[in-house]
């Protein structure tokens, strides 16, 4: 790179409207782009994953432990998430989206909450009935550290972990 680092773009302070928009994006999301750290190259490595909320408002994915992203997360749980897919119309860069830094944790099947999570997940992702009970599939809990709502050109709002925590997401 030939240019020195510069200050980040100007952000707007979080307000109730931005928090509500971010929470609505998370409640509506059925999939997301997930980025993990490649154990081989250190590059961020992206994949499209299923996404949903658990009965207590935790952010979940359902993944095969044989996938490349699960392998990477077993070595480094630092991940990123992008939710809010553009629709077929309009400028995709003005469609609202939420970028999260998250820590990922595989949840064991003997977790006391597994059955509650499974039922809740199946209600929102009925097609996952085909594979949810495969031996290699697990829920992945994605705990937010921070977020950035980008709701159109020039409107970027940093959000705190608490804004995106289970207490604010449960009951969707």
């Amino acid at each position: 790179m030939t240019e020195a680092p510069q200050p980040p773009e100007r952000y707007q302070p979080a307000d109730p409207r931005a928090r509500a928009e971010a929470q609505a994006l998370l409640r509506a999301a059925t999939h997301a782009a997930l980025a993990v750290l490649s154990p081989d190259t250190g590059h961020p490595q992206l994949s499209r994953v299923a996404l949903g909320l658990g009965p207590r408002g935790e952010i979940l994915s359902l993944v095969s432990t044989l996938s490349a992203h699960s392998r990477a997360l077993a070595l480094d749980p630092r991940a990123g998430l992008l939710v809010g897919e553009p629709g077929p119309k309009g400028d995709p860069l003005t469609h609202p989206r939420l970028s999260l830094e998250v820590t990922a944790q595989v949840l064991p099947r003997d977790d006391p909450q597994h059955e509650a999570r499974r039922s809740h997940w199946l209600a929102a992702h009925p097609k996952s009935a085909l594979y949810i009970d495969f031996a290699d599939f697990r829920f992945l809990r994605l705990t937010p550290l921070s977020g950035l709502l980008v709701a159109g050109f020039g409107r970027a709002v940093p959000l705190a972990a608490a804004d995106l925590g289970p207490d604010n997401l449960a009951g969707a």
Copy 2:
């Protein structure tokens, strides 16, 4: 994480059909999810960016040098890209997508190819006329190191950098 790393999912060997599908996804993409490495936390950090090909088949984005992703890339050019957005119908997890590991390089405006890139970009992204000449906007060249085509459940095909290089993308 409670589980030891496991072998990655089984991949299929690259063939002409997979290469053509991946190249078609890149030619059709007008935006993508970009992941960079956060200079603050080391987490992968995602954003949605404009995407297009240059006149010589190079993969380009058009970014503000004031953005958080530009700031991160100035410190570490390792990035990842996900192209192929799901449409409004069907299971988003069966929609074909291409994940790339890329190296990002900001291109200076006095690059001899700048005018050719600018005209080519404007033809594919007419709305960017509003900001393409803003003082802080630059083309970003994303050079692929490797790719993974995921074309539906259970069909994952690793691709080499050469499969996604300018010679195979030019003339779109």
